[in-house]
Symmetry: C2
């Protein structure tokens, strides 16, 4: 076990994931088996219209249809299960929203109380979903450091166990199962991905994808592409600096990608493995959100649209790229934002069919 010496240590042999396997390709496979029946097996969606718009075949892993509305339930379930088995009395986590929703749902599954620390500018529907799951919400500042301070206080004062969205190896390994499923589904459909694109907030999605694409023999045949808002280039700056750095946070509609610093663990896994990091403009995010809706008939949140926008840019720019996987990480978005974005883009002469 990693970082856990709870009183109920005897329960640990029942856990199906060998701690030695965490943060590896085989660990992701084991996590996928453990999650069977606990999460939804989301479809990989194709759209001829979107393919035409992208100039490539796009394979969309529709984690917006996942339980809790995002792929983050995967890692949260594994981490919370481990903590519950270790005798945890309660949980605390910071998040821009989706990890918090997922921890709240997983905590409810295990009968544990949970406190979730979100930024003041969190999406209101994400706050409501956490409260609907019976958990406590605390709003604190807008940057990661402010939330971390509250988490540290709650851990010390209330004896809560932290479910870190970027540093917990169960979380990161669990997030990798989304990409692993996508690869399996493309394979079953007779396809072969050139690359897979994931959005970057704290980095767990990309880090998980690096594990999932390693291949059982360590040979990587699928390039991992990271997409982040140009307004919050946390991975781009970290790659340039050789270590995580805190970046100024510009304005972005991608609330899920506002963490101003990539986690150390995700950075260590991504550095040297991620083939490219694309910085996506706000107009591209909005366009991709509209195209997901009108072409693929899927409602995705701006974070997921950021990955789709990167795939569109890749496909349009490079004739050698034929098949691109996109993990549509979530669909927790305000109806108001969707209406506004659609209304702005729907009026354009080239929209919705290009």
């Amino acid at each position: 076990m990693t970082g856990s010496t709870g009183a109920h240590v005897l329960h640990q042999p029942h856990l199906p994931i060998d701690a030695q396997e965490l943060l590896s390709h085989s660990g992701v496979q084991a996590a996928g088996r453990r999650l069977e029946g606990l999460i939804r097996h989301t479809p990989t969606v194709r759209s001829d219209d979107l393919d035409r718009s992208a100039g490539a075949r796009l394979w969309l892993k529709a984690e917006n249809l996942q339980r809790g509305g995002s792929f983050k339930i995967r890692g949260a379930l594994l981490a919370v299960e481990r903590l519950a088995a270790s005798g945890s009395r309660g949980l605390v986590a910071q998040s821009t929203g989706n990890h918090a929703i997922s921890v709240a749902l997983a905590a409810r599954d295990h009968g544990l109380p949970a406190v979730l620390v979100l930024p003041c500018n969190a999406a209101p529907m994400k706050i409501r979903r956490i409260q609907d799951a019976g958990a406590e919400v605390i709003l604190a500042g807008t940057v990661l450091a402010e939330r971390m301070t509250i988490v540290d206080e709650l851990r010390a004062e209330r004896g809560l166990d932290v479910v870190d969205p970027y540093q917990d190896p169960y979380v990161v390994t669990g997030q990798g199962t989304a990409t692993a499923e996508l690869l399996d589904q493309v394979d079953a459909a007779g396809g072969r991905l050139d690359s897979v694109v994931l959005p970057v907030g704290g980095g767990s999605a990309v880090a998980g994808a690096c594990l999932a694409t390693a291949g059982p023999d360590g040979r990587r045949t699928v390039a991992v592409i990271a997409a982040e808002p140009a307004a919050v280039p946390a991975l781009t700056q970290a790659m340039r600096s050789g270590h995580p750095v805190t970046v100024p946070v510009g304005t972005t509609i991608a609330d899920g990608l506002r963490p101003d610093r990539i986690g150390q663990l995700p950075f260590d896994l991504a550095h040297g493995t991620v083939a490219d990091v694309l910085m996506i403009e706000e107009s591209e995010i909005a366009e991709a959100m509209c195209l997901a809706l009108t072409h693929a008939r899927l409602l995705v949140e701006p974070a997921a649209a950021t990955a789709l926008a990167a795939a569109l840019r890749l496909g349009r720019a490079d004739d050698e790229i034929h098949d691109i996987g996109v993990v549509l990480t979530g669909g927790n978005v305000e109806a108001e934002l969707v209406a506004r974005t659609l209304a702005e883009h729907a009026g354009r002469p080239t929209f919705p069919l290009t």
Copy 2:
């Protein structure tokens, strides 16, 4: 073969569906096997939020993700394949839009020209999709009889074969495969439907569902519920009259459900089998379209939302109904309409979570 004596009669033995099996449960099963690989195997989507809003478990067959954006590709492919094998030189069909898109795509698959006759108030995106598939569009009036007149003229003048959306037994049998797949998917997930809800335009969806739910032994265990806009109560009036009647067309956003008369063949199949016909108000259609989006993260067109609205009404009204299947028939809807509907409903205090 039914009604076909084309020059290429020798091709007919290659057709996999025995004409004797059409319009039966086994015919739907055969149609499903024939369509494998030609259409998308669309997912059945679940949403905890939607279940809570409905007071029942809803199983959403996401045919909005189907090729061409609707379930109508199913019947069109089978009918056009049969006509192509019979030596057809070209096709003509009338439709409010989705059958026309599907015939255009199927015609292109077989290298046949196609003329599609739509009402003047057809959804613009449906017209564009037909033209994108390389087919000719003629707009004629707003009621069924006006379109039928044009179809008859084109058949006589140009020697085109008609692909009727309601009367063709290949079409109706093919449409039944959507419900058949839904039943299989619910079964595989360990569920059991009390009822399945389908929208009524010309009636092929409901008629196909009557075939699909008959059961191999003819025993029906799933109630077929029909949903139509209160503004165009074609099935309700036909049921009352004992035969199809032409009804006055009120204003409805459900462009796909504007046919002012149910087809004779669908009526014959539905009459005595459909358990109930629900007349859905415009506000219910709009609400359901919004809930599909924000709760299930699926973009559906108003016709599909009409079926979802009926399921919501059923689930909320009857505690004995636990599991409702809904065929979300299509997703071809204008971005402008979605933006407007969302903006109107998103402002309500009870929206999006109830």
